[in-house]
Symmetry: C2
Subunit: 333 residues, 2 copies
């Protein structure tokens, strides 16, 4: 690795290495989100698709296929499929969360309306399925439709887990698998399947995606508490205010004494939050060490992802995937 | 046809003829809408699935396959797929339309919340795709994923066509294809495809479904104006109040004189409706004969559906499909 490489973020290096493929995927996305009859569709979609997401998920599909030596074009269709599923879930999430900002811009539900977000999301789901059907690969279809079900199930679960102090670590894992890891896993796995790889390679790719996705989401949940420092900065505490139970809180609730339990019942279950409560919550998490524990968990999943890469062919893209797994948890140190 | 038969509605006769298949489909639906982790899902879905819909769409798939001599079980999976897609669109429609009643019961968005309706709808879409993938029939997957895209596109189109006096008959047809006919068409077509039928039979089934669906939706739109009688009864005028442009209005707008045009601009485009406006609208439609014309159009599509049946094998189910095409427009005479 040259010094230049070391200075560049791993997903940016992947972007350069996959430039031709990514251009083809972007062209495909633009072509397939068009609608002859309903101009509202490309309007809403472009707002989101062009808004400068990092395209991490489609890149994983492209990288997995390429590093396995695939030289067809189906991996581009699958990469576009993955991005469409992701975009559709973002549109529906913003309706469900009543969000007003996404990637620093007003959300589609705010610019247009919830109706458009729901229906354009449905359109993108349908387009995703059309695209993947074109590969005529039964296993790919099975993996991606299963992932879609896990994603939707996880979202519903998150809805009923919010504000519920009985939420367990098992449910939390199910929620973040649905929210993030299931699509990361499927994105990697289908790259190997389309490249017709042996079972151990396909499993390794799936494990990498799962570990990467869980590490990424745990890191995100931890950063919502300002990381492990207990420093309260801007944008910290959104999950607390929305009464979402993430791992640091779930573990703190499990170990709460009587007065701490009363605090969580009031702030999370009943939603009666006053000034100073966020500091108080942070102090409880620090006391029980659950922020640091969550960091350790995230590092473990990242390491698990990296270990799985050993089963894959030696390839510059494999090295970038390794570095990506470091990168998603590097924000925590 | 015995006198008893004549007294029974055609979809009820189909229900009896397909009883074994329908029981299997209902069992499959119950099995697949379950969720180990998110009990909210079967709650919401059961509310709708068990609410006594007539199961017309899945019956069409079963009937098409059976009358073509199919004796496998994939048609049951496809019938369940079609019902899941239908139920998912109902859940999302009720969010978009802000409906409070469906099939005489409070809607899911009212009983739970919009969030649950959006996410459980997504879950059912994913489950539908999982089910159809299990048939491993590429053409079936292609037909149903295309239909899903037409449905979503039609819904978005309807959103932008509402309140817009420039809506053409072509756009109206596109909207009702998306709203109703595309799924009727696909439901029939996949029955023939799974039964491995020759191209002319598959085409005939698709044409039947398309004609039946368009006739059904036009009849529905006409009944929203109380039929052709101009009699204003209960529940008449919902589309007018919601400023939706259906065929009778689109034609009347096209032929409007200056004062009629001002009326439509005020009531539909600007949405300023006063008492007496519904009577006034009805009078304009009667003057231009567009209610009667819509009835003639619906009858034409019903007849087109019936004509297509000639290409299919002689079978009691074929006769019931013929009678069903009469039944959906019989309400208009």
């Amino acid at each position: 690795m040259s010094l230049d490489d070391a200075a560049t973020k791993p997903h940016e290096r992947m972007q350069s290495a996959l430039e031709g493929d990514l251009n083809a995927v972007n062209a495909l996305i633009r072509e397939r989100m068009a609608s002859e009859h309903a101009p509202r569709i490309p309007e809403v979609t472009a707002h989101l698709v062009e808004a400068g997401g990092k395209r991490v998920r489609p890149m994983l599909t492209l990288a997995a296929a390429r590093l396995c030596g695939y030289d067809g074009v189906h991996h581009q269709k699958l990469a576009a499929t993955v991005e469409f599923i992701h975009t559709a879930t973002l549109l529906h999430d913003d309706v469900v969360d009543e969000s007003e900002k996404r990637r620093g811009r007003p959300t589609a539900n705010l610019l247009w309306d919830n109706k458009s977000s729901v229906l354009v999301g449905d359109y993108l789901f349908a387009r995703a399925f059309q695209l993947m059907v074109e590969t005529e690969n039964h296993r790919v279809l099975s993996i991606l439709s299963n992932a879609a079900a896990v994603i939707a199930e996880g979202e519903v679960l998150q809805l009923s887990a919010a504000m519920n102090l009985a939420t367990t670590e098992e449910i939390y894992l199910q929620v973040i698998r649905g929210k993030t890891a299931a699509l990361f896993e499927a994105a990697c796995e289908v790259g190997g399947v389309i490249a017709n790889q042996p079972e151990d390679v396909v499993r390794a790719l799936a494990t990498y995606g799962d570990g990467l996705g869980i590490a990424f989401q745990m890191a995100d949940d931890l950063l919502d508490w300002g990381g492990t420092s207990g420093a309260i900065g801007k944008n910290v505490g959104d999950d607390f205010r929305e009464r979402k139970l993430t791992l640091p809180v779930i573990r703190a609730v499990a170990r709460a004494d009587e007065s701490e339990r009363a605090f969580w019942v009031r702030t999370i279950q009943k939603g009666r939050q006053d000034e100073g409560d966020l500091d108080q919550a942070m102090a409880i998490l620090m006391r029980h060490g659950t922020l640091e524990e969550t960091r350790i968990e995230a590092l473990g999943h990242s390491a698990r992802a990296q270990a799985a890469l050993a089963a894959l062919p030696d390839h510059p893209l494999r090295d970038m995937m390794h570095d990506l797994a470091d990168y998603v948890v590097a924000r925590l140190t």
